[in-house]
Subunit: 334 residues, 6 copies
Amino acid sequence: MAGMAPRTRFRHMHTTPAHSTFNQPMSADHMPRAGGIASFMRLPVQDNTQGLDACFVGVPLDVGVSNRSGARLGPRQIRTESVVVRPCHPVSRAAPYSCLSVADVGDIAMNIFNLPEACRHISERYKELLEGSCIPLTMGGDHTITYPILQAIKSRHGRVGLVHIDAHGDVSDSMLGAKVTHGTPFRRALEEDLIDPNATVQIGLRGSCYTTDANDWQIEQGFMVVPGHECWHRSLTPVMQEVREKLGNRPVYLSFDIDAIDPGFCPGTGTPEIGGLTPIQALEIIRGCHGLNLVGCDLVEVSPPYDFEGTTALTAANLLFEMLCVLPGVKTKA
Amino acid sequence: MAGMAPRTRFRHMHTTPAHSTFNQPMSADHMPRAGGIASFMRLPVQDNTQGLDACFVGVPLDVGVSNRSGARLGPRQIRTESVVVRPCHPVSRAAPYSCLSVADVGDIAMNIFNLPEACRHISERYKELLEGSCIPLTMGGDHTITYPILQAIKSRHGRVGLVHIDAHGDVSDSMLGAKVTHGTPFRRALEEDLIDPNATVQIGLRGSCYTTDANDWQIEQGFMVVPGHECWHRSLTPVMQEVREKLGNRPVYLSFDIDAIDPGFCPGTGTPEIGGLTPIQALEIIRGCHGLNLVGCDLVEVSPPYDFEGTTALTAANLLFEMLCVLPGVKTKA
Amino acid sequence: MAGMAPRTRFRHMHTTPAHSTFNQPMSADHMPRAGGIASFMRLPVQDNTQGLDACFVGVPLDVGVSNRSGARLGPRQIRTESVVVRPCHPVSRAAPYSCLSVADVGDIAMNIFNLPEACRHISERYKELLEGSCIPLTMGGDHTITYPILQAIKSRHGRVGLVHIDAHGDVSDSMLGAKVTHGTPFRRALEEDLIDPNATVQIGLRGSCYTTDANDWQIEQGFMVVPGHECWHRSLTPVMQEVREKLGNRPVYLSFDIDAIDPGFCPGTGTPEIGGLTPIQALEIIRGCHGLNLVGCDLVEVSPPYDFEGTTALTAANLLFEMLCVLPGVKTKA
Amino acid sequence: MAGMAPRTRFRHMHTTPAHSTFNQPMSADHMPRAGGIASFMRLPVQDNTQGLDACFVGVPLDVGVSNRSGARLGPRQIRTESVVVRPCHPVSRAAPYSCLSVADVGDIAMNIFNLPEACRHISERYKELLEGSCIPLTMGGDHTITYPILQAIKSRHGRVGLVHIDAHGDVSDSMLGAKVTHGTPFRRALEEDLIDPNATVQIGLRGSCYTTDANDWQIEQGFMVVPGHECWHRSLTPVMQEVREKLGNRPVYLSFDIDAIDPGFCPGTGTPEIGGLTPIQALEIIRGCHGLNLVGCDLVEVSPPYDFEGTTALTAANLLFEMLCVLPGVKTKA
Amino acid sequence: MAGMAPRTRFRHMHTTPAHSTFNQPMSADHMPRAGGIASFMRLPVQDNTQGLDACFVGVPLDVGVSNRSGARLGPRQIRTESVVVRPCHPVSRAAPYSCLSVADVGDIAMNIFNLPEACRHISERYKELLEGSCIPLTMGGDHTITYPILQAIKSRHGRVGLVHIDAHGDVSDSMLGAKVTHGTPFRRALEEDLIDPNATVQIGLRGSCYTTDANDWQIEQGFMVVPGHECWHRSLTPVMQEVREKLGNRPVYLSFDIDAIDPGFCPGTGTPEIGGLTPIQALEIIRGCHGLNLVGCDLVEVSPPYDFEGTTALTAANLLFEMLCVLPGVKTKA
Amino acid sequence: MAGMAPRTRFRHMHTTPAHSTFNQPMSADHMPRAGGIASFMRLPVQDNTQGLDACFVGVPLDVGVSNRSGARLGPRQIRTESVVVRPCHPVSRAAPYSCLSVADVGDIAMNIFNLPEACRHISERYKELLEGSCIPLTMGGDHTITYPILQAIKSRHGRVGLVHIDAHGDVSDSMLGAKVTHGTPFRRALEEDLIDPNATVQIGLRGSCYTTDANDWQIEQGFMVVPGHECWHRSLTPVMQEVREKLGNRPVYLSFDIDAIDPGFCPGTGTPEIGGLTPIQALEIIRGCHGLNLVGCDLVEVSPPYDFEGTTALTAANLLFEMLCVLPGVKTKA
C-alpha cells in the first residue's frame, strides 16, 4: 500500500502547479510553514502588476504617527504571520486564487525622512501599480499612507466611496502644525475631492477626544458614522447591509485601521483605544463588503514592537485574505 | 496663505491657557505625546490639594499581594500610558477640566517594608488630602490600600456606600495569618464600620474558591453581589440602574480592581481569573456611576511587569479618566 | 487575645489534613502561592494511579506541530500557573477533592525524536495509568497525543464518544507526507475505530482552509460539527444541552485544544486562528459536560514561549480544574 | 544490531538506579528535559533533611525589596531552568551526586505579609533543616532572607566567616525607617555577632551611592572589600586564592546576590547596577571556594518577571550546582 | 530606644532639605523608588534654566532613524529607570548635587512630522536653555538631534571639540535622498563649522559598511578615529588620556550613542551592531572625560520597545549621571 | 542647486545595477530597511545554484532538539535581521558581492514529522545545490542538520576537515534512544567517515556533563578540543593561527552553533550554557578562517521565541556575512 501511495512533492520555491492558471501560495503540504521566503502567503513576487487582478503591497512608513512608532515594520511582520493563512475561505468557500491572478509586488521605496515627499513617492508608485486593472491590497505602515494612495486611486477610478474602519476619525486639520500626518488623511482626501462624503462610512470611532464635538464635523460633511459604542454587544452584519445599500455599485475604497479592533485582541498598534471592535465584528464587516465594487483596500497601523505574540499581525494577515475573498470576481459557494 | 496660518504654539511645560480657569492637561498639539514629564495626563503637579476639586494620587505598594507582585509600579505605568488620553469624553461629551480644578499630587510616601505601618502612613496622608473638598482618584498599588483610604474617607465623610468591582470579594478574615492584606480590606472595613453593608455592591466576583460557600458571607452581611457569571453575554447598564437606585445620594466610594476585567484584555495584574468582565462592561459600570455622590475612587492591582504592551495600564488610565467624568459637578451634554 | 488566636499552621510539603480522606492541594493559607514544588495545583505526586479516581498527567511533546513549536513546555507551565487555582467551584459549588482521590502522576517519558515511537510510548504508559479506574486529565503537548491516548482508552473502555473543542478539525489524512501529526489524530482514531463518529462532536472549527470542502468529510462520517462562526455572539449552554442528549451515558472522551479559544485570550499556542471562542464559552462547554460519562480529558497545544503573561497556561489550568469538577462522582450543590 | 541494542529505560518519576547509593537527578536520557516535575535538577523531593548531606531549599519572599519586586518567584523559576543542568562538572570533573546525599526539600512557608515575622519563620525552619549535618543551598527570594538564615546557622555552627558576592554592601542601618530589609542583612548580622567581620569578604560592590563614604563603614569593621571596578578586565582566580588564605578552615557561609553579575548577563533582578561581574568571574569565584569549609550557601534576588529568556534563572541554577560541586566531601579529578 | 530613634521623614514631593543650597533628587529613604513623578532622578522640574549650572532635557524624536524606530520614547524611559540612581559617585566620590544647581527642564516641543522643522525647533529651544551658563545633558531621541543642538552650542560657545562615542560614524552625506537624518549629523556639523575636525574623536565605530573605504573620510578631515575592534580586550582608560591631551581646555561636546555599547548589554536601540563596547568601557570613557571643558552632553538612540528589562535605559541613566559627575565644577575626592 | 542634485533612485525590487556583474543586496539607500521582501540581506532569490559561487539556504527544522524548541523559525528570523547588514567588511575591507555570485536559494522542503526522513530530504537537496561549485551558507535549524549536510558535502568534496564552534560536543551516541538528534551529528559523521578526526577542531565546549569524562572521547578520536574555559579573558586570534596551520588547504566545513556564544549576548537558543564565548571572540574565529579552503558553512540553533530583541538572529546574520567574507575567492584590502 505504501508503495502505491502518492508521494508528497516537496517544492522548494514558488511554483504554480501545472493544472493551475493562476499563481498559488506556497502550500504547507510542500514546504513546512516555518520555511519559504516570507512574501504574503508565500505568493510569487513580481515587480509590477502586469497581468495581475490583485496585488499585495507594503508601505513601510511610520513617521506619520503621533504616539508609539513601529508601524514601518508592519508589512514585514504581516507577511511573516501570513504564512499560516490557507487559500480557501471557511464560510463563503471562496477560492480566490482560482479566480484571480495575484502576486506580492513588494514594498514602496520612499524617502522616509520627509513625510510629504514620501507621500509623493507613494502616490507615484501607486499610479504605476494601478495602470492595469489591478486592485492593490496594501499593508501599512501608518494611516498617513491612505492619503497618497487615494490620490492615485482617484487618477485611475475618479472620486470613490470609502469604508473606513478605525478607532479614530483621522480628520484632524493638523497635528503639531503639520497638515499631513496619520491623523489627517481623510480631511485632506475630502479637501482634494478624492472621496465622496455622501458615500463615506466610518465604523468603530471611539476614545477620549480633544473637544466635545467629536465626529460632528464628519456628520456635517455627510459621512455615515457608526461610533464604537453603538457596536457593543451586537453583530455588525446588519450595519453592513445598510452600508452596501448606501454605497451601491460605485467604486469603493476600504481602509481598515487595526486599532479599530480592541487592544485586548490587537495590542500591536500605536494609538490603542479600549472598548473596540472584536475580531468577529471585523470579520463581519469585511465579509459584509461582499458585493461592493472594491477598487482598493488597506490594512494599516500594525506596530510589531507592541505585538509580542504576533496576534495583531496574524489578524491583519487574515483580514487582508478576507478582503481578497470579497473582491469583485471572486466566486463564493455559500 | 502659509504666512497667515495660525502657528502652533509649542509649550514645553504645564501651562494653563490664559482663557482657562482650571488646570489643563498638556496638549498633544503643543507637545508630542512621547514628550513631557509623565504626570497623570500630563497634568500640573502640586504637593497638596488646596483649591482642588479632584486629584490623582498614587500608592506604590505591593507587599499586600498574595500571588504575583509588581503592583508597586502601577502608578508610574498608569501615568505613562495616560499621556494618550484626551480631555473630553466621546459619548457624554463631558469636559471635566472645564468644570473641576484637578492636579496630580504625586505618590504616598510610606514604609513599604511594614504593611500595617504603611497603612497608617496612607491613612494619615489621605486625611491631609481630604482636608478641603477634594475627591481623590487613586492609582494603586495593591488592594490593601483601599482599607486605609476608607479609614480616611470615614473621618471626612462618615460611613460610605461602596461600589466594588473585582474578581475577588476581598473579605477574607486573614491570609497566612495576616489580618491586613490585599484579600482582606473589605472585611476590615466592615468591622470598622467604614462602609455600609446595605449600600455595598460587588460586581464581577468569580474564580475558584477556598470553600463551597463563596460569597455567602457577604450576602449575609447585606451586600448586593453580582457574580461574574451573571455578567456574561450582556450589557451592565441595567445593573447600574439598580445600583444607582440602591445607593441614592449618600456618599459613595468606588473601588475598581483591574482584575475584574478578563485577563485577555488586562493581563497585567497579580491574581488573574478567566471569564471576567470586558472593558466595554467596565465602561458601562463607570458611566453608570454618573449621578452617584462619589467621594473617592480607586483603580488598583495594575502590575506592569505582566503588562507587556501596556494595555492594562492604558485601560486603567482610561477608566480613571472615565471616573473623573462622572464626578459630581461634571456637566455632560449627551 | 493574640495569645489565644488559632495560629496559622505553615506546611512545607504536601500533607493531607487529618480530617480528610483524600489528597488535598497545598493550601495558599499554609504556603505562599509563590512557594511549593509546582505539581498541578500543588497536589501530591505519585508514580502510579493505584487508588486514584483521577490523575493529572503531562505529555511534553511538540514534534507533531506544523507551525510554531513550544507545546512541549505546556505541562510544566500549566502546573506553574495552576498554583493559583483554589479547590472549590464558584458556581456549582463542587469540591472535587472531597469526592475523588486525585494526584499528579508526572509526565510521560518517551523518545521525542521519533514521533511514531513516542506515540507507542504514550499509548503503553496510558494503558498502565488506566489499569484501575482512574480518569486521566492530560496536559499537552501537541494534539498528536490524543491519538495514542485514545488507543489506550479503547483498550480499557472500548470505542468512545468524543467531544472535541478546537479551531481545526484535525482530520487531515497526512501532512508533508506524514500520517501521524497534530493535524491527523481524529482521522487515525476513526480509521482504528477508537471513536464513534455518530457520537463525535466538534465545536469551534474555523479559519482559512486548504480546500473549499472544509468539514464536509467529518459531516459525511456522521460527526456533529458546530463551526466557530455559529458560536459568535451567543451562549453555548444550549449547544451543550444538545450534546448531552446526543451522547447519553456512553463513555466519552473530552479533548480540548486551547486554540479553540480566540488568540486574544489565549495567544500561547502554535496555530492561532482569529474569531474564536471566548473563555466564557469554554467554561460553558466544560460545565455543560456535567452529566456525561467522561472517561478521559485532555487540554492540549499550550505553547508557553508565546504566552508572555501566562494567561494561556492559566486558562488551561482553570479548564482542567473545571473538567475535574464535572467528572462522574463529583457532587455539586448548585 | 537494532534488536540487540540496549533499550533506553524511560523513567516517569524520580527513581534512583539500583547501583547508586545516593539520590540522582532525573536523567535527560530517561525523561525529556521538558518533562518531569520541576524540583531542583529534578531531584527527589523530601520534607526533612534526615540523611542528607546537602539540600536545595527555596524562600519565596520579596517584600524586603526596595525597587522592583518579583524575587518571590525566584525559587520556582530557578528550579524550572535547572532541568538542563547535568550531574557532573566539566572542569573539576566532580560528580557530587556520587559523593553526597542530596534532595530538594521544598520551600519555606511563612507569613509574607509581615517581614519580621517571616524572618522568624525562616530562622525556625532553618534550625530544623540544620539539625543533622545537612548543608542548605538556598534559592531566594530577596536578600533579607540571609539574615534569618545566618541566625539559624549560628545556632548550629557558631559565628561564621562570610563570602558575600553582590553589587551592594547591604549594610544600611535602615530603609524607609525599617531595620529589616534586603539592604540591611549584614548590618544586622554583624550586630548580632552572626558573622566575623575579620573573616568577611565582599566582592563586586559598585553603583551610585547615597553618600560619599561608600564602603568605608565595612572597611572600618574589618571586612575585606573588593569593589566592582577592581574586578574589571581580569580573572578573579587570584582574588579567591587570597580569600581562601584569609578564611582558612573556619565555617564559612557563601551568599551570592545575582545582581553582582552585570545586568547584560543577568537582567532578572530588582536593583541592577551596570559594570558588574561576568558569569565567567562568577564561576571563578565559586570554583575558587573549593577547599573552604562551607556550611551554607545562597543565591538570591533572581526576579523572573525581568528575566525574559530565563538566562538569569539559568545562571542561578548553574551557580547553585557549582556551589554543590565545591562543598566539603565532593571529590574532584582535575 | 525606639522612642529615641530619629524618625524617617517621608516626603511626598521634591523638597530640598534646609541645609542644602541646591536641588536634590528625591531620596529613596523618603519615598519608595516605585513612587514619585519620574523626572530624571526625581529631580525638581522647572521650565527654564535660570540659576542652573546643568539641566537634564529630553528630545522625544525618532523620525530620523533609518531602521527600527522607538527612540522617541527614550527620554521618558530613561527618566523611569533613573529613579534607582543615587546622588554620589562610588569611585570618584563626587557629590554633584552639592556642587551644582541642577534640574530637569522637561522635553523639547516640536513638529515631529517634519524633520527639518523639528530641528529648527530644537535649535531655537536650546538657544534659550543656553542663555545662562547652564550645561545641557540631553536624553534622546535619535542622533539627528545632535545637529541642531550643536548649532545652538555654537551660537553660545563657538566651534567646539567633539567626543563622539558610537557604533557608526554618522557622517553620511544623505540617506534615501535626505540630508538631515540620524546618519548625517556630523557631516552637517562639519560643513557648518560647528565642530573642529582636529578636535573631534570618534570611538567604537564598527559594523558592516556601504563601501570599502569606511572611516577614511573622517580621517581625511582630521578626526581621531578609534574603531571598535581596536577597543577589544582592553581598558579604554589609556585612550582617554590621549583624548584629554588632544582636546586640552577648549569647549567640548560629548555625544554618546547607546549603540556604541554591545547589544548584548544594550539591546534597546535601533541599529545594533555586534562586537561593541562593554558598559565598563563606557564608564571608563566618561570617567576619562574628567578634566575636559564640557559644555554639553547627550545620550541618544535608546529605543524602549527593544529594551524589555529596561537595562538599556538604566545604562543610559547611569551614563548621564556619570556625565554630570565629570562636569566642570564638580569636586572629586578620589 | 536642487535641480542639479543627483536624485536618489528608489528601487522597489531586487535589481542589479548595470555596472555590476554580480547580484547585489537591495541597498538601504534605495529602499528603507523596513521594506523589501526579507531574503538574506535582501538578495535576489533563485531556486537553484546555477551560476552561483555561494548561496544562503535555510533548513527550518527543530524536531532534533532536546530542550527548548523554536529553531525551525531561525532561517526566517535571521533573514529578517539580516536587512541591516551592509555589503562591505569594516576591517578586511572585503566586498564579497564584487567577487562572488551569490543568491538566497530559499529553504529546504522536508517531512518535519519524521527526523530520519527529513535528514534524507536535506541530504538529497544539498546534493543538488552542490552540483556546481556553489558553497552553501546554511541557516539552521537545529544542529541535527549538519549531519545530512556533511553527507552531501562528502559526495561532492570527499571527507573534510571540520571547524566546529559550539557549547556542546554533539558527539553523543544516542539521546532517549534515538541515534539522530541535535546531540549526535558529529558522532554519526565520524562513523560515516564524513569528517577527518585529525582535522577536526571543536571550540567553546563547556557546561555541566552527563559523565566525568567529558570530551575525552573526542580527544581519543584525534579531535583538537579548545574548551570554553580556555577561551576566557583572551583573544582567540592565536588559536585560529594554530587551526589554520593544522588544517592546511584541505576542504573544510565550518559549523557554528550559536550557543557557543554566551547567552548574555545570544539568549535565543535552545540549550544555553553560561560562561561562553563573546561575539568578539566569534568574530575572531570567523575572521581567523580566512585562508582556509571552506566548502560549506552553517550557523545553527537560533531559536527566535527566546530572542526578544532579535540580537541572536542579528548576530547570526552578521556571522553568516563574516563567513561569506572569508570564502575562497573573496579579496581583502587590509
